[in-house]
Symmetry: C2
């Protein structure tokens, strides 16, 4: 076991601009030792999520505050390698906010045990927060009915790939919107989407008119901006628009309203379509988490949902891997294997 603890720490606050690799700084230390009631975790795999940027920005109302020089926070999977805690035995795998480092010291209650049959990548993706977000957002907020037209933006991303596949199980006709022909092909060929729109080379609005002439019943939005606006122009009566993310907005500074990207001009179509647009945060659907976990586990086991993981190898590449999420380079869940 290495005596060294490699650590990526926050080097700068990226509020109001795009994230850069230089916003992270290496600050390696020696391996920590667990105290009484604590366990030492060897980190194996890091989850790369858009929310990590907001943690660095210190403006979220629900994330804990961070400081320059703090180890970079983030969900991860690790293995107990030393323990003074009876509930965390050596060899057990755990999930939690372990941060971007080789070793983390945790107490019982700060991490959750991961079932042996679940892979590291699934535990951070389709059977982790990502999968629960997809299930609770689509099922809880979007309320899909069989025969509905479901449109997913950011369809080739971590959440989008799962949302589309749950939509197919729910009997929907699923249209994905993604950037690039390769992603679009993958959505249809590998993940069973009915159609895909490449927003980089196609006109989203006219393609939606052709693919969904009777309109969109459920829109699951990870993107915002013009893609959301185009979808709002094509709502079917009674449509539900689930606002999950807005990758197009993460470089804006909400303290400076003039710099914020434009809102969706077509919001007033909510009236014409007597439709609703609803935002959600996963922890408000806590009552649904167990149901989501059970069903996703069954569907993954039965092959109805395929895991999409985009794994970058090597601790050094963590900053670069996070930037992939913002540039849309990833296909499925972006992870870093240490």
């Amino acid at each position: 076991m290495s005596e060294r603890n490699r650590r990526w720490v926050i080097g700068a606050n990226p509020l109001g601009r795009a994230l850069e690799t230089s916003d992270f700084r290496r600050d390696d230390q020696s391996r920590p030792a667990p105290g009484l009631g604590e366990a030492l975790i060897k980190v194996r795999c890091l989850s790369m999520d858009p929310a990590l940027k907001s943690y660095m920005e210190n403006i979220s109302t629900y994330a804990r505050p961070t400081n320059i020089g703090d180890v970079m926070p983030g969900e991860a999977i690790g293995e107990v390698v030393a323990s003074n805690c009876p509930d965390l035995v050596v060899g057990a795998r755990v999930r939690g906010d372990l941060g971007w480092q080789d070793f983390a010291v945790v107490k019982h209650g700060q991490v959750e045990l991961v079932h042996a049959e679940i892979s590291d990548t699934a535990a951070l993706g389709v059977l982790g927060t990502t999968g629960k977000t997809a299930y609770c957002g689509l099922v809880g907020v979007g309320q899909p009915k069989p025969g509905d037209v479901l449109v997913v933006s950011g369809a080739a991303g971590a959440t989008g790939t799962v949302v589309g596949q749950i939509g197919k199980i729910a009997g929907c006709r699923v249209i994905g919107i993604a950037g690039g022909a390769a992603k679009c092909e993958r959505l249809i060929e590998d993940l069973g989407f009915d159609a895909a729109i490449d927003y980089k080379s196609e006109k989203v609005r006219s393609r939606l008119r052709a693919l969904a002439p009777e309109g969109i019943d459920v829109m699951f939005d990870n993107v915002g901006g013009e893609v959301l606006n185009d979808c709002l122009a094509r709502l079917a009566p009674g449509a539900r628009v689930v606002i999950c993310g807005a990758i197009s907005r993460y470089n804006a500074d909400p303290r400076n309203p003039g710099q914020m990207p434009e809102g969706p001009r077509n919001y007033f179509n909510l009236v014409h379509a007597h439709a609703r647009m609803e935002g959600f945060i996963l922890h408000h659907y806590a009552a649904m988490h167990e149901e989501a976990q059970k069903r996703l586990t069954r569907w993954v086991g039965g092959g109805q949902i395929k895991e999409s993981a985009d794994v970058v190898e090597g601790f050094e590449r963590a900053p670069e891997a996070l930037l992939r999420v913002f540039s849309g380079a990833n296909l499925g869940k972006q992870l870093v294997r240490l």
Copy 2:
């Protein structure tokens, strides 16, 4: 009874610009005669609604088409003065799309009878479409709970005055947003609003912060634009935003997306507040209309809801009266008494 039928006809299509009095043209004719199964209605009072402009624009998906030279459509109250229809007896009062003219010929089924106890102004306002819009939008879509903070934009308008008063009956703390000190004073002194914000002289966002430090539970929006955007910045957890109208958008041309006003930049706060924004059209709440009518009648009778009618006298002034609705000159329901 006059032999002449004064008529305002559509003189121009105002799409993509502000309405002007020159968009209307007088085209008087001789008084029409009712045929078999028809009745002659003497029009007494005209309802002035923002939707009338969209009827002239011919782009609505739910309004019947119009042509230049057609008599101006619009809801009105009239009295049967001659009849060849057993269901419409002379002396009866009726409500329907009678248009901007002295006399209309109608068949049974095109109009509805108005109860003798209901005044002309109430039949077109608080006990007509306006009142039903307020009730169904607030109660059906907004779902107010006692103790909720309700914010109403366009609060001194036809719908807004009724929404605020229903909100008080529902146990809400009601904040109106209106243009001008006189309107704001009237909301508080006459209509029982708890507070009012004059968007012309006050900063809406900071006033909302002071008046509703815990946020807005229900927002009833008649306005759109910056007022809606400011309210979205101040949503309480679980908030409902009812989109009823958008007076700030009625001069835009939806066929030209670049010319449309900006959308609400703060829509993403729907996520932070796990809130929903929902549009509605009255006829989708048909199942609620009878309930609305009964309750509004009882509340008006009991003095819990005061009628707010802004009556312009004289047929000649109908175009000018409609322009008042778009400039916000009216206080309560804008009507024209012939």
